[in-house]
């Protein structure tokens, strides 16, 4: 055989073999479905619509039995004020349980700060809640299997199984977890699992008069949340952590952390 023929035949054989190998691979439909189930809860926040009334925070606390006056909350609203000189101030008094009623911005140790209206370039509210990440850091660090992710994507805590070690509270890059002062276990937003699983809406989304919060099924192409995530310019928080958060924000600024 000539060298030229050998190379030619080898090229034909290798390309032919690789094609046939690919076609021989069978997909198990169940495996594919498991990787892409029909239901994946996702959340959409439209920051343009949020007016900082804090009804969502109050509703969440009542619905989920989080003590109203305790300094913990499953969801909260942040106020960002960006000044014309580039400075950024931000606060969330009591997690906005009672809304934002004052122009004074709580700056912790440096006291209350008021920014004059004419100095403000941008000012807006950003509601925060658990991102129910696709690869949740908090679940990975749980040593006892007390926190986990369901098939439909929600991250929950088994209150009977949690030993209260606090790893998950430290592990969450978004700071959405806390110790429940009465249950004495780690606690977090459940996307109101008891409501959405029974055909309802989350307490926060329902309480919002302005439609700033929406829950939906990201796998359903006709779902308004899925549509917005696909067609609009949405952002997520702290993408660089690789947790693949599933709470999407319309109108997210780089100043928001």
């Amino acid at each position: 055989m000539k060298r030229r023929d050998f190379l030619k035949n080898a090229a034909v054989f290798v390309s032919g073999a690789s094609v046939s190998l690919a076609t021989l691979e069978f997909f198990d439909p169940q495996q594919l479905l498991a990787a892409n189930p029909e239901l994946r809860w996702g959340f959409l926040v439209n920051t343009h619509n949020c007016v900082g009334c804090g009804f969502c925070v109050k509703a969440c606390k009542v619905e989920n039995d989080i003590p109203l006056e305790a300094n913990v909350t499953r969801t909260w609203v942040e106020r960002y004020v960006i000044m014309k000189d580039g400075g950024v101030v931000m606060d969330t008094p009591k997690g906005a349980l009672n809304g934002f009623t004052s122009k004074l911005i709580d700056q912790n140790r440096s006291g209350m700060k008021q920014v004059a209206d004419e100095e403000i370039a941008q000012a807006f509210f950003v509601p925060k809640l658990c991102n129910h990440c696709d690869t949740p850091a908090c679940v990975q660090v749980c040593p006892v299997g007390a926190t986990y992710q369901t098939k439909d994507g929600t991250v929950l805590v088994d209150r009977k199984w949690c030993i209260g070690c606090g790893y998950c509270i430290m592990g969450c890059p978004y700071g959405v977890r806390f110790f429940h002062p009465e249950e004495h276990v780690a606690d977090k937003c459940t996307f109101c699992y008891h409501r959405i699983s029974n055909g309802g809406n989350t307490a926060c989304a329902q309480a919002c008069p302005f439609g700033a919060r929406q829950i939906g099924n990201l796998r359903d192409p006709n779902d308004p949340v899925a549509k917005a995530v696909m067609n609009q310019r949405v952002g997520v928080l702290r993408d660089e952590y690789g947790t693949k958060p599933q709470v999407f924000y319309i109108g997210l600024n780089k100043e928001v952390r």
């Binding site: 343009h48 403000i120 990975q140 459940t190 409501r195």
Partner: protein, 156 residues
């Protein structure tokens, strides 16, 4: 093998057996790697149902209009129609059975959640009529002049 090897070895084996037997009783049958695998789905499966059974407190405005259709009719077209009933009237729970009466939040602070004037140029807050709570009839409840179901003073 001699006794001084066997005896501690038996103690260790015994301990391991005791721990394994105790684990058999203590760990529920449905505990293990579920749909999301060992990394993200290692849990007690029945806990998902326990969360689904958590009692809901809020109903929704449609539930309210089932009986109070006169009120929801009155609200229609008013600028406050977008606000869910339970935001001011409180969570319904099993009303009218339990509780029989809901406690309405008529406080000034409730109104100020939206109507305290803040300069928020990139937020919907700027489109809402706002007052300075210290200057605008301080000490009076808002509901003394404004009807919460139809707050416009001209239409009263």
């Amino acid at each position: 093998m001699r006794g001084h090897v066997w005896r501690p070895l038996l103690v260790v084996i015994g301990l391991v057996v005791i721990i394994l037997v105790a684990r058999m009783f203590y760990v529920p049958d449905d505990f293990g790697a579920q749909d999301r695998g060992y990394t993200f789905g290692f849990h007690r499966l029945s806990n998902e149902q326990e969360w689904k059974d958590y009692p809901a407190k809020f109903q929704d405005s449609e539930y309210c209009s089932g009986c109070h259709d006169d009120k929801s009719e009155e609200l229609k077209g008013a600028r406050h129609a977008m606000i869910p009933c339970e935001n001011c009237h409180g969570a319904a729970f099993d009303h009218p059975d339990d509780p029989e009466k809901l406690i309405i939040d008529r406080s000034r602070d409730l109104c100020l959640r939206c109507h305290s004037a803040l300069y928020m140029p990139s937020s919907g807050r700027n489109d809402i009529p706002g007052v300075n709570p210290e200057e605008h009839n301080s000490g009076l409840e808002c509901a003394e002049c404004h009807n919460p179901h139809n707050p416009s003073l001209e239409e009263m």
